[in-house]
């Protein structure tokens, strides 16, 4: 038999279903985010691991100029190396019929064997190129999809100055190419970088690598010391133009996956707890209101002989039912949201498979956290149930005491009508509750404003980058260092009105034990097109000696201006340079290091050389300019600024950018949960007062003002507080998200804060409207009969 108390419990819950629902929703949001994010983290981590393992992704990578195959034996003999494979990799240009701007790409060799080796491709479609074939190729699936290419299609490429027509035999994905960006760019763009795999003999023929290799990949034994192996590889390959071996975690594709996992972890640790705290607080105010209004029933139950425990258990059950409902809804929604997110990732990274693997621990953890938070809220209330004596509960109610709240001096008083005083005293009588309600809303708003600011800041960075740092319309990339007459040559092309030579040199930077694989960018003394900028966005002139480091690089190497940096140049004569750090430059994308071009060339003992040219042109003539330049000797490819900017912006709008709406929803749900519950409670507490006002001849809006005025004030206080806290959150997140791939400088972004505030205000209006509707429907006569 169901106990009468349980019957009461279910009636109570049904009566306050909207309130209970709002709280359960806040809990559900917290659980949802936890489950979704840790599920995605888990899936991503697990998929990455499984994919790498299944396809035997190498542990160590190295690129060199050219080494005879005999060196592979020496490399394989390095202690700790389990397997080594030499490959041929070269830059290619892909000429698609409809496309004027040639597409850059890469050709990678496949060993002339069917025996599976390292870095195995994952064939999604078609077949591998036949062994010994010289015009068959696999095409990177992402590129093929973006360009509508299929097995059987022909592909025109230019490799090492040779034009060649390839027959696409199949499409493939590769664990070393989860993330594909055009060279020099940081946003993935499947359409603008193509990868083909050809059999090794065919590629060797093209690049003159017969019996040789220019890239090697290594698998190490389980307990080998990676950095020792790297040192051994570097010393063997030094004379073969090795550019420095690096471990898997420095593989650019892997770096991006890890970045994503990392930011998911940051979010999953910071966001859900806030929801649970707000939910605990809401349960506290709702249940305490319930206990307050049921004093008589509680007294009566105690008088009948129910123990305090039994009565408390009754209220605790209500708390737990709400919490469990929230947890269940959160888990279900979290799995659904996680699946969706994993779908996005599968598209974004070229994973051949990506199973959504919800983190079992996250279910247990979030259920535990939610129930604990809810019970804590409940326990605070239950103290009152225990304290209530039957006699006290049966005493007739006295009006709540306002004598210790605000009294108004006559000057102030004249300005305030009575309803306003009711609003202000209502707030002043329970300053803590008011403050807590405001804080709850402010928390939701802060989270939303903070996160949205990050996206906005990132977009600002992109804008700033393309308007101040890199003002070029296009960058012409040469196949090798060319004489600087190439710049004058380009400048003569009609429509081009500015050209600046620059040189990119691969290098390893060292400071003590710290090191960074990167490159030096050589620019004219006072460049006009592509520049280094300082913190106040002023261009930094490049001095005749010394190097300018970007902030993330200076941080990574722990160097300040005045200190000396060791640079191992990985090209040409491969000198080791000792360079004074002369300034630190702000950077927005990547972690560049700048030198003046003459100084760089002098250090390399290669005067008058350049590898790229930054150009500004009349965009109306883009197509003719591009086709003229394409025909110039030694031009490897182009980087059109417009395209680069577009792919960065696409990244923001499609991937991460969609998350801002989720953030809006977060602010809305929390605000709604808080305001709606606060409104319901005020409504219940004041029903009779409001009815009395109506009896006295106050109109509906006038009466509602007393109730809604308080909510409006709570909301108004919450907005600036939430905005300030949001700013702090954005600073913290910016610090957490910034790496040497992207830098985010959080600024106070008015639009983001306005966006969050509008969701807060919207939620406040919706809950106010719901309560006002009840108010309007309330029967005056019945309301007057209720005894508070």
């Amino acid at each position: 038999m169901v106990s009468p108390l349980d019957t009461k419990l279910f009636r109570d819950l049904r009566r306050m279903k909207a309130q209970a629902g709002a709280i359960a929703m806040v809990i559900a949001m917290g659980v949802l985010l936890q489950v979704m994010m840790s599920g995605s983290t888990n899936s991503l981590t697990e998929t990455r691991r499984a994919y790498y393992e299944r396809n035997h992704l190498a542990d160590i990578f190295v690129t060199l100029t050219r080494a005879p195959e005999s060196e592979l034996q020496r490399l394989g003999a390095i202690p700790g190396v389990r397997q080594v494979e030499g490959r041929v990799i070269g830059g290619i240009r892909i000429d698609l019929p409809q496309e004027t701007v040639p597409i850059q790409g890469q050709a990678i060799s496949l060993a002339e064997t069917d025996r599976p080796g390292l870095n195995q491709v994952h064939l999604t479609n078609g077949t591998l190129p036949a062994i010994g074939s010289d015009d068959e190729a696999l095409l990177l699936e992402g590129f093929a999809r973006a360009r509508g290419l299929n097995p059987g299609d022909r592909l025109q490429i230019t490799a090492n100055g040779v034009r060649k027509t390839l027959r696409v035999t199949g499409l493939a994905q590769s664990p070393e190419l989860l993330f594909v960006a055009a060279p020099g760019e940081l946003a993935p763009d499947a359409a603008r970088f193509g990868v083909v795999w050809m059999r090794q003999d065919a590629l060797s023929a093209i690049y003159g690598m017969q019996g040789a290799f220019n890239d090697a990949v290594f698998a190490q034994t389980r307990d080998a010391n990676t950095s020792e192996i790297i040192d051994a590889i570097d010393s063997i390959l030094d004379r073969w133009g090795g550019t420095g071996a690096f471990a898997r975690e420095d593989l650019i594709s892997d770096r991006f996956v890890m970045e994503e996992i990392n930011s998911l972890i940051i979010m999953s640790r910071s966001v859900p707890p806030l929801f649970l705290a707000v939910a605990a607080f809401l349960l506290y105010i709702v249940i305490s209101r319930m206990v307050q209004s049921e004093r008589e029933e509680i007294g009566l139950l105690k008088a009948f002989g129910y123990t305090s425990f039994e009565v408390s258990a009754h209220y605790m059950k209500a708390v737990l039912i709400i919490a469990v409902a929230g947890v269940i809804a959160g888990c279900l929604l979290g799995v659904a949201a996680g699946r969706w997110m994993v779908g996005v990732y599968t598209q974004f990274y070229n994973f051949p498979f990506l199973v959504f693997r919800p983190d079992t621990f996250s279910f247990i953890f979030s259920a535990f956290a939610a129930l604990t938070a809810a019970s804590t809220g409940g326990l605070f209330v239950l103290r009152r149930v225990f304290a209530l004596t039957p006699a006290e509960a049966m005493r007739p109610p006295t009006p709540p005491d306002f004598s210790k709240t605000l009294t108004f001096k006559s000057a102030v008083a004249r300005m305030l009508d009575q309803p306003s005083r009711m609003v202000l005293r209502g707030i002043a009588r329970r300053p803590l509750r008011t403050a807590a309600l405001s804080m709850g809303i402010a928390g939701g708003m802060a989270l939303s404003a903070g996160m949205t600011t990050i996206y906005a800041s990132f977009e600002d960075n992109i804008d700033l980058f393309f308007s101040v740092v890199d003002r070029s319309d296009a960058t012409v990339i040469f196949t090798h260092p060319v004489g600087d007459s190439a710049a004058t040559d380009i400048a003569r092309v009609p429509g081009i009105f500015a050209v600046e030579p620059a040189r990119e040199v691969a290098a390893v930077f060292r400071n003590g034990l710290r090191s960074h694989r990167g490159g030096i960018t050589g620019l004219p003394h006072s460049p006009e097109i592509t520049r280094a900028i300082d913190a106040s966005v002023r261009p930094i002139p490049l001095p005749d000696s010394g190097i300018v480091l970007s902030v993330p690089l200076a941080n990574k190497l722990a160097l300040a201006p005045g200190e000396t940096l060791t640079v191992d140049v990985r090209e040409g004569r491969r000198p080791t340079l000792q360079l004074p750090v002369v300034a630190v430059a702000e950077s927005l994308l990547g972690a560049p290091a700048y030198m003046s071009l003459p100084a760089l060339n002098r250090a390399l003992k290669e005067p008058g050389r350049m590898t790229v040219a930054h150009v500004m042109f009349d965009s109306a003539e883009k197509d003719t300019i591009v086709s003229t330049l394409k025909a110039k000797p030694a031009v490897a490819g182009f980087l059109v600024a417009e395209d680069a900017q577009a792919s960065l912006e696409k990244l923001m709008n499609e991937g991460a950018g969609a998350a801002r709406y989720i953030m809006g929803v977060i602010a809305f749900v929390i605000t709604f949960g808080v305001i709606y519950n606060a409104a319901r409670i005020s409504h219940a507490e004041r029903l009779r007062d409001l009815a009395s006002l109506r009896v006295m001849g106050f109109t509906r809006p006038e009466a509602a003002f007393v109730l809604l005025g308080e909510l409006a004030l709570i909301t108004l206080v919450a907005i600036p507080v939430g905005s300030a806290a949001g700013y702090l959150i954005s600073l913290a997140l910016a610090a957490g998200f910034s790496s040497d791939l992207y830098q985010i400088t959080a600024t106070y972004d008015l639009a983001s804060h306005g966006f969050a505030a509008s969701f807060v205000v919207g939620a406040s209006i919706v809950s106010g409207w719901l309560v006002k509707r009840d108010l309007d429907r309330a029967d005056l006569v019945i309301a007057l009969k209720t005894r508070e």
């Binding site: 005491d401 306002f402 009779r688 001849g697 106050f698 006569v781």
Partner: protein
């Protein structure tokens, strides 16, 4: 003699079908202006219902109720609000003061929106509580709270004062003080007072006594003389 209210065939039904409760079954009554009218009747006989309809808090299901020349049944919600605001005052059994406003402010709550109010201080003076104007309801006794409620109701100088069991929650001495105030208001301001009560003896202070029975007017007695509250046996 002017009439304040006239009703014809006033009917109120709560609910529908089997659950329907006929609270008023055709009430015809003429209420003259300036009198104290006491309504008596068994619990559930429809006293409060009638009072609420005349006071513009509720609507009749059928029939007409006129206040002077206004047909209350034809007023919109907004017009009813204005009617309450301008013409009538209410006093209830449970004082219904705003706990967050002082005695003085509770009165000002009404004077702020009324057309021709008396000063709040004067209204409080009328109930003998001007010296307590800065006290909150929680600092006043039940009788004092009820007197503030009366001050609040009369401060707008209403034509009619509706009192539903104004002494219901009070002891006899406190009740007498409250009744004195009501009589005072009637005498000094000429306000029509319609009072519902369960204490039959209070009827002795009325000009007219209306007995309700099962949703109808049972009988109406006119008192030749009115006793003062002090003279009433309680």
């Amino acid at each position: 003699m002017q009439t304040a209210f006239v009703t014809r065939g006033l009917t109120k039904v709560y609910g529908e079908g089997h659950a329907a409760v006929h609270a008023l079954r055709g009430v015809d009554i003429d209420v003259p202006q300036g009198e104290i009218i006491v309504m008596l009747g068994a619990s559930g006989s429809g006293k409060s219902t009638l009072l609420n309809i005349l006071g513009g808090l509720d609507r009749a299901t059928e029939g007409q109720a006129f206040f002077q020349d206004t047909n209350l049944s034809e007023l919109s919600d907004r017009e009813l609000t204005i009617y309450r605001r301008r013409h009538v005052g209410f006093v209830f059994q449970f004082y219904n003061l705003m706990p967050s406003l002082t005695a003085g402010e509770n009165v000002e709550l009404v004077t702020e929106i009324a057309e021709n109010p008396m000063p709040a201080a004067e209204a409080l003076d009328l109930v003998g509580l001007d010296h307590r104007r800065d006290h909150f309801p929680s600092q006043l006794s039940g009788g004092e709270q009820q007197r503030v409620a009366i001050a609040r109701a009369v401060a707008k100088q209403p034509e009619v004062l509706f009192c539903d069991e104004p002494t219901g929650a009070l002891d006899s001495a406190t009740g007498r003080a409250v009744l004195n105030v009501l009589r005072d208001v009637n005498v000094r301001l000429g306000t029509t007072v319609l009072m519902v009560t369960h204490a039959a003896s209070i009827a002795d202070m009325a000009h007219r006594v209306v007995r309700m029975q099962d949703g109808r007017i049972g009988e109406v007695n006119v008192n030749e003389t009115q006793k003062t509250p002090e003279e009433i046996e309680w």
